[in-house]
């Protein structure tokens, strides 16, 4: 999971793209250590230290990981795309953005 996301973030570093996490871990210190070790550079919301946190609840998340992909207008465009499908989804939206700005 992490290596894939790491490479996505790295590949799109100079594009209008962001990976935003919502983390449901229990122990913040453990998490910080793990993030350092795994070189997780993207920002995450801390969801109160449980899988029943307010954000996960509001988004009806019952399984982890759960993925949403939003376009530049904040509209939900893809759900639960993983691996290559995630890359494809993001690339398609970036391309769409470029298309719009040319017009």
């Amino acid at each position: 999971m992490y290596p894939h996301e790491r490479s996505l973030v790295k590949r799109l570093a100079d594009k209008p793209f962001a990976l935003v996490g919502v983390n449901s871990d229990k122990d913040k210190d453990e998490l910080k250590k793990a993030m350092e070790k795994e070189n997780i550079t993207w920002r995450s919301f801390w969801d109160g230290g449980s899988t029943n946190g307010p954000i996960a609840k509001k988004w009806n998340v019952h399984g982890w990981p759960t993925i949403y992909v939003l376009d530049d207008q904040g509209v939900i465009r893809y759900k639960n795309v993983r691996g290559e499908a995630m890359d494809k989804a993001v690339d398609a939206l970036l391309k769409e953005m470029e298309g719009k700005s040319k017009k």
Binding site: P16, V20, S24, W46
Partner: protein
């Protein structure tokens, strides 16, 4: 999850827990109801045996591709369709023979409906249930939950009939909830089936029938979604006027919220919170960028 529902019956032997439950009951004298129950139990045992026999060649398959090859070579798809149709005919005969024993006849029809995906026997069983057994509690408690992820035409007829004919507010709300979920899965199935790999598609086609699968794909997802949303809305609205159990209302509300705020094409709700270091930030800070939201945990 729903994708699994559509495929699961193919890959696993159907193991109907419903039928196993009655096994410990002591033998009753041979009333018509008892004979009917016995005949149905025998049918079920024979079916399980026949099914095991049929799937035997698949046991050695190491991959889905291999399984599909065996499937085709041994003509398991065709045999399966014929086997299910034969057993469905037998169950229909039991329902007919014991038509006066309402519960027993209903059980036999339920067997057909929960084992056959399509075909004339299934259509007939659904029509009979709608006509004679619509208020049988098992339809709501056992049958509909099992069919909710199988967006087939005959099933839809049953969901609609139950919703229409339910006789108390609570039953009506439950039936509407189930119909709405069925319609939601009908809408989702269109894209799901299109996205399946060829092998899985073939296996599903063998199970549900070519025509039935074509109908799943050609359904109008926008229309089905809109109707589902309206149903969820009306359940929530009615709940304020009539006594409907809180869990049904909560269920409808959560579905409605998901459709209105969490579905593809909807504006994402903002997230405001703190990051791991306690610094405040918002999802809307990223407007103008493509954003992947990743709900994750380091476990």
């Amino acid at each position: 999850m729903r994708r699994l529902l559509l495929i699961a019956p193919l890959l696993l032997a159907l193991s109907p827990a419903v039928w196993a439950q009655d096994k410990d009951k002591p033998d009753k004298p041979d009333t018509p109801a008892a004979s009917a129950e016995k005949e149905l139990k025998e049918l079920n045992a024979d079916f399980n045996k026949a099914q095991q026999e049929l799937y035997k060649p698949l046991q050695d398959a190491k991959s889905q591709e291999e399984a599909l090859k065996i499937f085709e070579k041994e003509k398991i798809g065709e045999k399966q369709a014929k086997m299910i149709a034969d057993f469905a005919k037998r169950a229909l005969a039991i329902a007919d023979k014991y038509a006066k024993e309402k519960d027993a006849a209903a059980d036999a029809l339920i067997w057909v409906v929960t084992h056959a995906e399509s075909g004339s026997e299934k259509t007939k069983a659904i029509d009979l249930i709608i006509h004679d057994h619509i208020s049988n509690k098992k339809i709501e408690t056992t049958v509909l939950p099992r069919l909710v992820g199988m967006p087939l035409e005959d099933n839809e007829k049953l969901f609609r009939a139950v919703a229409e004919k339910a006789d108390t507010p609570d039953r009506k709300a439950t039936a509407k909830l189930q119909l709405a979920k069925f319609l939601k899965s009908k809408a989702e199935a269109v894209e799901q089936v299109k996205g399946l790999d060829e092998n899985t598609k073939k296996m599903i086609e063998m199970r549900v029938g070519k025509d039935a699968l074509a109908k799943i794909v050609s359904a109008d997802p926008v229309k089905a979604t809109a109707e589902a949303e309206k149903l969820f809305e009306s359940i929530v609205k009615d709940a304020d006027k009539e006594s409907i159990s809180a869990s049904i209302k909560a269920n409808a509300e959560s579905e409605l919220f998901e459709m209105q705020h969490l579905a593809i094409g909807k504006q994402a709700q903002d997230i405001e919170g703190e990051d791991i270091d306690g610094k405040k930030f918002k999802l809307s800070d990223y407007k103008g960028k493509v954003v992947v939201i990743d709900f994750w945990g380091n476990w």
